[in-house]
């Protein structure tokens, strides 16, 4: 498996209206590593992901991605096609990559099982709860064996039990396949649990306030009881808080 390297240099994004969302951002996503982005609401995290995903162009700076990645993108909203049932929504990226109908179905069912939606495969999106929609979106992000995974608050709409379970699932998966991951989350615990590095951003326009290397190896449920786990969380919280108080 090729590992994807992402390099942002002095990336800036100013929206047509004049809103500056990202300011002079340098960021490296190391191959096979999980980077978590934490930052205040509206600071520019989603914009950054969309810049890396290539659906928004930076107004300055450069973004290099090498080699050409297979992107798995979980947007902040579920973005399901209302006329497709859950299975066919999840299978979409495979379908677009011209996989056979059989493969689509099998892989989709496998991912749905992973996110606990096995028995909702035939539902239309309109018949899903908010959390179920997001889980379908997560399943879709994983289906095409991505080499670069961009996740925008994928688990924000889930209850804590399911969320922890999925955190562990994802942790195992990305490590096994050494996918390059950029994860936006508002849960500091989740960031610490999943990431190799946590990047804390300032309020808009997003600047990097601090980075935290997460020293844990294996990620499993036991980690959450670890003392350093809690310590790291509160250090990160304080950086975030300080950043927000500095500007307001």
């Amino acid at each position: 498996m090729t590992n994807v390297q992402v390099r942002l240099r002095a990336v800036e994004k100013v929206f047509p209206g004049g809103v500056e969302a990202v300011a002079a951002m340098d960021l490296d996503l190391a191959p096979g590593r999980v980077t978590a982005l934490l930052g205040p609401t509206g600071c520019g995290k989603s914009t950054l992901l969309r810049l890396i995903g290539g659906v928004e162009t930076p107004t300055a700076g450069s973004i290099e991605i090498d080699p050409l990645p297979q992107i798995g993108f979980c947007f902040q909203e579920p973005r399901l096609l209302p006329w497709r049932n859950v299975r066919r929504n999840v299978a979409l990226p495979l379908e677009l990559a011209r996989a056979s109908r059989e493969t689509c179905r099998r892989e989709a069912d496998r991912r749905l099982e992973m996110v606990g939606l096995g028995d909702a495969a035939e539902f239309l999106p309109a018949a899903l709860s908010g959390g179920m929609r997001m889980r379908a979106a997560v399943a879709r992000a994983f289906i095409a064996d991505p080499t670069l995974l961009l996740l925008d608050e994928p688990f924000a709409a889930l209850d804590e039990v399911t969320r922890l379970r999925l955190d562990e699932e994802v942790a195992a998966l990305v490590r096994k396949r050494s996918i390059t991951v950029l994860l936006v989350t508002h849960s500091i615990a989740e960031a610490v649990f999943l990431a190799d590095e946590v990047v804390v951003l300032s309020p808009r326009p997003a600047r990097i306030l601090d980075r935290f290397e997460i020293p844990f190896g294996e990620r499993n449920a036991a980690l959450r009881g670890h003392e350093e786990f809690a310590a790291l969380q509160s250090r990160i919280y304080n950086v975030l808080l300080a950043g927000m108080e500095a500007t307001s």
């Binding site: 909203e77 096609l81 006329w83 677009l96």
Partner: protein
């Protein structure tokens, strides 16, 4: 809901309204003693339909053929060219306004060309029905494709879906409601297009379709025959409209608000 139920439910309300309107019409004719040459009573129109049934049903059959083929062509050409116009932005800006021409040129003005290029009879009439009804399908398709949700389009771009794939898997289903708006409008236009096409390009006499029956009856001041033929044309239009609605319901019913 089962199909027969749906069809029944969409048939009885207009049927009731039609009956009410017919009664009002009848009353108006009687009360204001409107002369027959201007507006016959519904009853005499019915009588005429009954009298001339063999001739009228044959005429309706001919008009129906032209209408259906013209409408079918419109649907295909409209959806395809609407899609092409949306795929190629410059073509959209350059060509789309011109497709409006199809709708604005009076058929009588191009009737000579129509009959010389397509020949008298069915081909000309089909061409007329198609020319008159294709623009709404183009406009419906194009407007639908232009309003695809930006978020979903973004998702397709991230997965590097080609234009054709995006059109097929996102644009087309997304636009269906609007395509069906166009098709509903085209249904009525195809009927009138065929009739007007028959005014200028169909054989008369024994082979007369409804349009020819209408002009011939108009010349004879047989207003009740005119209305009889118009009634049958309207029936044809309603049938086509109903068919389009049913198709729309089948395609959209499961997911789109408009089909609830």
């Amino acid at each position: 809901m089962k199909y027969p139920r749906i069809i029944w439910n969409s048939v009885w309300p207009p049927a009731v309204v039609v009956l009410i309107l017919l009664s009002l019409w009848h009353l108006a004719v009687v009360l204001f003693s409107i002369p027959e040459f201007l507006l016959p009573t519904p009853w005499s129109v019915l009588e005429r339909i009954y009298d001339q049934w063999p001739r009228l049903i044959a005429a309706t059959g001919r008009t129906a053929t032209a209408t259906l083929l013209g409408f079918g062509l419109s649907a295909v050409i409209g959806i395809v060219s609407g899609s092409l116009l949306s795929l190629v932005p410059l073509a959209r800006r350059g060509v789309y306004p011109l497709t409006l021409l199809l709708q604005m040129v009076p058929l009588v003005a191009i009737a000579p060309m129509l009959v010389i290029w397509f020949g008298y009879g069915l081909p000309s009439v089909i061409a007329a029905a198609c020319i008159v009804s294709v623009f709404p399908v183009i406009a419906g398709t194009l407007d639908g494709l232009q309003s695809v949700d930006a978020g979903l389009a973004e998702m397709f771009r991230i997965h590097r879906a080609g234009r054709i794939r995006t059109w097929w898997s996102l644009g087309l289903p997304w636009s269906l409601p609007s395509v069906f708006t166009g098709l509903r409008i085209a249904a009525g236009l195809a009927v009138i297009g065929a009739i007007v096409g028959e005014f200028v390009g169909a054989f008369g006499g024994d082979q007369a379709p409804l349009g020819a029956v209408i002009t011939s009856a108009l010349k004879q001041n047989q207003t009740s025959t005119v209305f009889a033929a118009v009634t049958l044309a309207a029936m044809l239009g309603f049938a086509l409209f109903g068919f389009v609605n049913l198709a729309g319901w089948l395609l959209l019913g499961r997911w789109h608000e408009s089909a609830r």
